[in-house]
């Protein structure tokens, strides 16, 4: 084998190594029909090109396989999730983490406009993760809290510097109140006022004390 042939062989091996992992994933093989596999592969490639997290899309496919859904239904679910994540990705901006995008997509799925999530993100600054606040927002809206009341409650909590533990308590209290018969909007508004205020997050840069 001459030098150029060896070089070519090395290049081919290198190229083979970068075939997308999902194309060879044994969890997919024999579980999903070929057209659906191709459709999902295209959706994953498209998401990757748009800078959208791919792992949640993969997990949506696995979830569909686990419940025994057929290929077209899985493709539809993956496509819908991709659209929702693309929407929140635009609304939250490039500073959003993959987890924030995933949680925000759940809130959008529950009926919260992405633009409202973008406002909360803008208000909270870069350091405060909104993964839990978005998750709780999706939860309380799905329990009947009107979108506006839910957004206002989460915005006031985040604005007041509530910690994740406080927001967890808020979710537990609101869901408990609703289960006991309280009007969902009243439960959210009342419980949001009860959360102790922490150090508010600011979008302004920190002042240097030195």
């Amino acid at each position: 084998m001459n030098r150029s042939a060896r070089g070519l062989a090395a290049m081919i091996l290198a190229a083979a190594a970068i075939v997308p992992a999902h194309a060879q994933d044994p969890r997919i093989e024999n579980r999903l029909d070929a057209p659906s596999r191709i459709a999902i592969s295209a959706l994953l490639d498209s998401a990757r090109a748009q800078g959208i997290p791919v792992e949640p899309l993969m997990q949506k496919m696995y979830e569909g396989l686990a419940v025994g859904a057929d290929g077209p239904r899985i493709v539809s679910a993956v496509r819908n999730l991709k659209v929702e994540m693309a929407t929140v990705h635009r609304a939250l901006g490039t500073v959003a983490t993959a987890d924030e995008i995933k949680a925000a997509a759940s809130a959008v799925h529950a009926g919260v406009p992405a633009v409202e999530l973008g406002k909360i993100k803008k208000q909270s600054g870069l350091r405060r993760s909104l993964t839990l606040p978005f998750t709780v927002l999706a939860d309380i809206v799905s329990r009947g809290v009107p979108v506006e009341a839910g957004v206002n409650a989460i915005r006031s909590l985040v604005g007041a510097g509530a910690k994740d533990a406080d927001i967890n308590d808020f979710q537990r209290n609101v869901s408990g109140d609703i289960e006991k018969g309280a009007p969902p909007a009243a439960a959210a508004e009342t419980r949001a006022k009860a959360v102790p205020a922490g150090k508010p997050e600011s979008t302004k840069p920190e002042q240097d004390d030195h």
């Binding site: 090395a10 290198a14 190229a15 987890d99």
Partner: protein, 183 residues
């Protein structure tokens, strides 16, 4: 061919890396030659010179080996790049206890996006304590969706956790946010 940052294909990046000359530590050649001369002196009578000369007289293979190393390292660097939005950095794991009160259940397992929804027997099997089923497992930091699988077929959301609204397949599930304990 997949594209990475700046619209360059992976192949183009590999080619560019391979075009770079392989630079070795300046002392490398000197140290090698010292060892070779020492071996040469010690083993002259046993004919071991051929071993050393085989290495030094095959630059083609050495170049191919170096190119392979560069290619592997390059691929590793490319593949390790975040492929999407800003990485959450959620590499830490934290133990999470999943509990479901189900006195009449014969079996309870936990499936979620942290174990690929139980595909290939990856479900977490809970143990029964007088109707209180529980299992504790390390879960990666980040936001997750999960459900209890009761008696191998019934999907049940965790009543003590936030609901997940992504019930595209008609199955209830719950949301879980795991903090990165390493931060």
């Amino acid at each position: 061919m997949p594209e990475w940052g700046g619209g360059r294909t992976t192949l183009e990046m590999i080619v560019q890396e391979l075009q770079h000359p392989v630079r070795l530590d300046e002392s490398f050649e000197r140290r090698v030659m010292v060892r070779v001369r020492r071996l040469h002196a010690e083993r002259r009578s046993r004919g071991w010179v051929a071993v050393a000369s085989r290495v030094t007289h095959r630059p083609g293979w050495a170049a191919a080996l170096a190119a392979s190393v560069v290619a592997v390292v390059t691929l590793g660097l490319i593949k390790s790049r975040p492929e999407s939005a800003r990485d959450s950095g959620g590499v830490g794991m934290a133990p999470v206890q999943f509990v479901l009160v189900a006195p009449n259940a014969r079996s309870v397992a936990v499936v979620g996006d942290f174990n690929n929804w139980g595909l290939n027997d990856s479900a977490l099997v809970a143990t029964n304590h007088q109707g209180v089923w529980s299992v504790t497992a390390p879960v990666p930091a980040g936001v997750h969706r999960y459900a209890f699988l009761v008696n191998g077929k019934q999907w049940v959301a965790d009543p003590s956790a936030p609901r997940s609204t992504d019930d595209d397949f008609g199955m209830p599930s719950s949301a879980l946010v795991v903090e990165d304990s390493t931060r």
